[in-house]
Symmetry: C2
Subunit: 178 residues, 2 copies
Amino acid sequence: MEERLEIRLSGSGGQGLILAGIILAEAAILDGKNAVQSQSYGPEARGGASRAEVVISDEEIDYPKVTKPQVLLALTNEALNKFKDNLASDGIIIIDSSINKPDTPYKVIQLPIIETARDRIGKSMVANIVAVGVITALTKVVSREAVEKAVLNRVPKGTEELNKKALYAGFELGEQLS
Amino acid sequence: MEERLEIRLSGSGGQGLILAGIILAEAAILDGKNAVQSQSYGPEARGGASRAEVVISDEEIDYPKVTKPQVLLALTNEALNKFKDNLASDGIIIIDSSINKPDTPYKVIQLPIIETARDRIGKSMVANIVAVGVITALTKVVSREAVEKAVLNRVPKGTEELNKKALYAGFELGEQLS
């Protein structure tokens, strides 16, 4: 892993991307790293593409803003179009299967994240946790043990098993490609 | 209000301060402003004082980190001791009544935030929303209408009425002093 890794999670409001970002950040500290999780809102954010960002580093993080992410997750077309440019040169874009493949110089990985949440786990609202599993398996930015702990710490009481299943389904999706 | 306002919410993990920060940030955008909400984690964060931060501005926010907050909320002694220095010169510190009053050049406002949540609302876990109400009434950084909408958007389904009561109790606590 590089010393500083920037991740941008994008989609629509209500897809739980802030929670996904918090979970990745907390997993990173369980792994002994530093992390900042943030979301920026402007007046244009109402109704538009939403995003949550995570910076993970072995060092203290002085500049917490994501400028050139190594990893972009996009769960909607609108989010992809808004954020698909200006990744790091080795950046990867992870998109849901429901999204049109973009014309881009970056590596694009398309996976049935929302479908897996809806049809295999039975709740489309856990697509965020499936995505966390995908990112973990693909990028190894956090360990599976740490991310599982962070998921169980952070999801609402009573939904732990459901979310654990979603996480494992995400691991499986991601590891086919890693 | 100044052009840029920095708020630091501190306490222990599990007190819901990230959610409080997200609510303040979302209220700010409902008011037509820009906002960034973030939390930083280092290895020392495990078990220690936790914090969530919000920057609100009329302008676009280039530097999202809180360096000299105008408002510090502290819900535990440990958090107060960690964060009580380096506020803005006109900064205020809002502390829970359970905390020892610090020796500090800044204005200190002590209010029964946790007691109000526990004894008046009946759930100590809504202390975070009482605190959001206090900060809103005291600082007017966001409008009451916007913060109420943001609370109702963000709290778990089925807890809306409870959290609305907590918010209004916070307004009352804060307005006695504003």
